[in-house]
Amino acid sequence: MSVLFAHLGELLTGLLTTLELAVLSFPLALVAGTVLGVCRVSPIGPLQSAAGFYVHCLRNSPLLLILVMVVFGLPYLGATIPLFGSVVLGLGLYFGAYVCETVRSGIAGVPIGQIEAARALGLTFSGVLRQVVLPQAFRSMVQPLGTIFINVSLASALGAAVGVQELTGSARQFNLDYAQPVPSFIAAVVGYLLITLTAGQLTGVVERKVRVRR
């Protein structure tokens, strides 16, 4: 145990890296997913199919494969980005597919009367989406998006497999260095619990704040 406290700094750095990964890739997933989701509900056939194809491909492949492709494959394409950046990119692209499905069901959850009323006011398709549907959809999506954020922060642990020293990676390193499996893994579990519980609480608070009362 004393070894653990002496080297707690390394694990804290890992925890910070995990947080950075999650906090940077989640907005990326949000943007990608919203664009994809809007494409999937749009009346434009090719965009619908392209977004659907993307979502099916990403959701049906393992995240580790996507990460490995981005980290070790992109350089062959002539794009050399730092390791950390590629993991963020991989996480963002992967969870974008999940955000897309959340956006789609969020849009489907907006009462049809709202949409009919907006159309009756003469709003265009993009007007209906931007001013009436998406603001309501996003509010109902707080809870699912919070879950996706938690999933992103847990999934960022796969960064350890491609060489990012985040929380799991530093727990593993700590264990290799000092052969203290139980304290190091308990510390990592506590770190992940801190992130997921905080995220869950925050989601609850935000959800209550922005909920649409019908």
Binding site: A50, P62, L64, G73, A108, T196
Partner: protein, 286 residues
């Protein structure tokens, strides 16, 4: 053209024209994107036959297919075990005995709140320090079972909780005990409703088995890595690997959809046509 979301309906001549233009533009943009990607691939010489040829040579292909078999093996074994573990811990969590429900709840919450790879590392490098070394197959499979099982436990719990209260009341009225109610009344209905979730569980474990890459167990992703390293064609091999995963998992998810579909129309026609589902819940005694 009407969308199921009601976002737009029958288009007028003007809107149809605009839609045609938008369609053409989006096709051009999409083709442009694909062409750009292909051009870039050609530019960095990733399209040369030398890099793609290994993928159609039988020894390489066979190695990948061996990996696929292992992936399927891990996926199916882990899915089956996780169903057992998930059902037991999900029901345990619903138990009225605290000595049973508390540990079950703790286990489910713990395994859901930590990343799978952390669990794998614990089994891989943590346990051997206590002198326990498992075969690599189980180092990979047990964490998947625990993780996927915890997810399934919550699905089972939600399934039991979403069952109409009247089912429990009726079972109590004909004198069934709690265990009998679960076994004879609740579980058969829950599992029938959860058939799609069973298939999704296989998809989950198949995807999670890719962590064989981490423990160097020869499943699909790991074998893809080996082939890519050997032939120096990572991009091409990983692309093929991805196609294999996607085809299999997409096929499975279609099965899940099919299992989900035929029930819906039957339920809406058979169950009271005039009264929607909401009143039956609000009326039931709590």
């Amino acid at each position: 053209m009407t969308s199921d979301t009601g976002l737009f309906d029958e288009l007028g001549p003007k809107a149809r024209k605009r839609l045609r233009i938008a369609t053409v533009v989006s096709v051009v943009v999409l083709i442009g994107l694909i062409a750009g990607a292909v051009a870039q691939l050609a530019h960095v010489q990733q399209l040369t036959a030398r890099l793609w040829e290994p993928l159609i040579q039988w020894p390489n292909l066979r190695y990948l297919l061996d990996g696929l078999l292992t992936t399927l093996e891990i996926g199916l074994v882990a899915a089956a075990l996780s169903l057992v573990f998930g059902t037991l811990s999900g029901l345990g969590r619903l138990s009225s005995h605290r000595w049973l429900s508390l540990p079950c709840a703790a286990a489910v919450e713990l395994f859901r709140a930590i990343p799978l790879i952390l669990l794998v590392y614990f089994f891989l490098i943590g346990l051997p320090t206590f002198g326990w070394s498992l075969p690599t197959f189980w180092v990979l499979t047990i964490p998947i079972v625990l993780h996927a099982g915890a997810v399934f436990a919550e699905i089972v719990r939600a399934g039991v909780n979403s069952l109409d209260r009247g089912q429990f009341d009726a079972a109590a009225a004909i004198g069934l005990r709690r265990g009998q109610t679960m076994r004879l009344v609740v579980l058969p209905q829950v599992f029938r409703a959860l058939r799609p979730a069973l298939v999704t569980q296989v998809i989950r474990t198949l995807k999670e088995s890719s962590l064989g890459y981490v423990v160097s167990y020869p499943e699909l992703l790991r074998n893809g890595q080996v082939i890519g390293e050997y032939n120096a064609n990572f991009l091409q091999t990983y692309a093929l690997t991805a196609v294999i995963y996607i085809v299999i998992n997409f096929g499975l998810s279609r099965i899940a959809d099919l299992l989900d579909r035929p029930r819906r129309p039957r339920r809406t026609t058979a169950a009271s046509p005039a009264v929607p589902t909401v009143p039956s819940e609000t009326l039931s005694l709590r």
